[in-house]
């Protein structure tokens, strides 16, 4: 190609590129200023797979999460009045959430006054841990692991998946098409409270939450082995019939898998345990 032809081609390209850029800008203007004025009622909202399968809006899923949280707290001694302890658990939980796919969504943490050793998660970002569970935990990395496991249940919508499997909402369309569905939302909440406090997630859900827990705590800067240590302690006590975390049975398979995940992740051993800080907030 001669120099003149090359210049002509480049000049043509320049003109084309300029027109193209202007067109893109105008297209963006149209989108921004016209398409965005679609009435709100016709806009789409998005929730996760399980909520979608139930035809739940994000508001309805949140309503269930709030109702379940309130019910579990009310039935288990209420939320602790120790603000310092609540704030500490929330700070550890937020650190874990910040390293999860839910970093841009609010997840609420609280301590409930129950000697039962357990932790609970409700749909749309609610995690409760009992004072009994805190008494079994020895450092901040272990607490982070337990909270991260519950956050894993939230992220993967295991609670709503259980509702779906229970076929409570054969007429899920009803929920999505009317505002007066409080009774149905209440029935779902009742079911979930019963499920979360008396039954156990199935093994695949527990494993998925475990896998997530190891990922989140490692990314947050904690020692992921803290979670394994907690599971090991749990397994020993559960084998003795201690009833700890009865809704989260710690099996040898889960411990083995979590250990393997840590090895595979390339964890460099630099994660924090923060046992002194844990004692500072939890020991009286």
């Amino acid at each position: 190609m001669s120099t003149n032809k090359m210049r002509a081609a480049l000049t043509a390209a320049f003109v084309f590129a300029s027109v193209s850029a202007l067109a893109q800008g105008f297209g963006g203007f149209l989108k921004d200023n016209l398409l965005n004025n679609v009435p709100f009622g016709h806009q789409i909202s998005a929730v996760g797979d399980a909520a979608q399968a139930l035809s739940l809006t994000s508001e309805q899923a949140d309503s269930i999460g709030q109702s379940v949280t309130m019910s579990i707290a009310a039935q288990n001694g209420g939320v602790s009045r120790d603000n310092r302890l609540n704030d500490y658990v929330s700070l550890v939980g937020m650190t874990v959430v910040n390293a999860s796919p839910w970093a841009d969504r609010p997840v609420h943490f609280a301590v409930i006054n129950s000697p039962i050793v357990n932790a609970y998660s409700a749909p749309n970002g609610y995690v409760l841990i009992t004072t009994g569970a805190l008494a079994q935990i020895q450092d901040e990395s272990e607490l982070a692991g337990v909270l991260a496991h519950e956050v894993g249940h939230v992220v993967h919508e295991h609670g709503l998946a259980a509702v779906r499997r229970a076929n409570l909402l054969k007429a899920g369309v009803t929920l999505a098409s009317t505002n007066s569905s409080f009774a149905e939302l209440g029935a779902v909440s009742d079911y979930l409270v019963d499920f979360l406090t008396k039954q156990a997630f199935d093994q695949p859900a527990e494993i998925e939450a475990d896998d997530s827990a190891v990922q989140y705590v490692t990314a947050a800067g904690y020692d992921p082995n803290g979670y394994v240590r907690f599971l090991q302690r749990l397994a020993v006590v559960q084998a003795g019939g201690g009833g700890l975390f009865s809704t989260h049975p710690a099996t040898a398979d889960r411990i083995k898998r979590a250990t393997a995940n840590i090895a595979r992740s390339g964890y460099d051993g630099g994660g924090k345990r923060l046992d002194a800080r844990f004692r500072q907030y939890t020991v009286r």
């Binding site: 480049l10 320049f14 300029s18 193209s20 850029a21 989108k31 921004d32 965005n36 709100f40 009622g41 806009q43 789409i44 909202s45 998005a46 929730v47 996760g48 797979d49 909520a51 979608q52 739940l56 809006t57 994000s58 508001e59 309805q60 309503s63 709030q66 949280t69 309130m70 019910s71 707290a73 009310a74 939320v79 609540n86 704030d87 929330s90 700070l91 937020m94 650190t95 910040n98 390293a99 999860s100 796919p101 970093a103 841009d104 609010p106 609420h108 943490f109 609280a110 992220v155 999505a176 505002n179 409080f182 939302l185 209440g186 909440s189 990922q215 490692t218 990314a219 947050a220 800067g221």
Partner: protein, 169 residues
């Protein structure tokens, strides 16, 4: 002189091509879920400045780890997780699926679970004789903790959040 003019034309054309290529990849993105919060900082302690719906075009201005800094059509600037955005409107990914929403998603309803008890939860509380103040107590914990979080991460020597690809949903 003609040579100099020609060189200038060539440089201008190449510059324009590069610029237009940058414009082409850039970066109009769409929320993958409704009521998506736009935060004032790229971490969990960021305060929501507004919420957006899936049909709102967001211009990505910069990136920090897993977070995109975006500009709304009205000019508001804020941060959002990159995994919450996609290049095509309504092309949900990673387990986020679109469904029809009920009613007008005002900031109040967007705040459900973010500090305000929902109507459904209030009715549930009344039917069970629970004190809805339980929820308020829980909301306040997070509000207090959010203000302490960055110092908490720093004093603990925690990374806060690593940019792990496998964390993306």
């Amino acid at each position: 002189m003609r040579d100099r003019l020609g060189r200038a034309t060539t440089i201008a054309a190449v510059t324009a091509l590069v610029f237009s290529a940058a414009m082409a990849v850039a970066q109009v993105m769409y929320p993958q879920r409704g009521n998506l919060q736009i935060l004032d900082a790229p971490d969990i302690a960021g305060v929501p400045v507004t919420t957006v719906e899936p049909n709102i075009a967001l211009q990505v201005m910069s990136k920090k780890g897993r977070w995109d800094q975006v500009k709304l059509p009205a000019g508001t600037v804020g941060w959002v997780l990159e995994s919450a955005l996609a290049a095509k409107q309504g092309s949900g990914q990673g387990g986020l699926t679109n469904v029809m929403s009920l009613g007008k998603p005002t900031l109040d309803t967007a705040a459900a679970g973010r500090g305000i008890a929902s109507d459904g939860a209030r009715q549930y509380a009344a039917s069970k004789h629970y004190d809805p103040a339980i929820l308020q107590q829980i909301f306040e914990i997070r509000i207090r903790a959010r203000g302490q979080w960055r110092a908490f991460v720093r004093t603990g020597g925690l990374t806060g959040a690593a940019d792990l690809a496998e964390l993306r949903p």
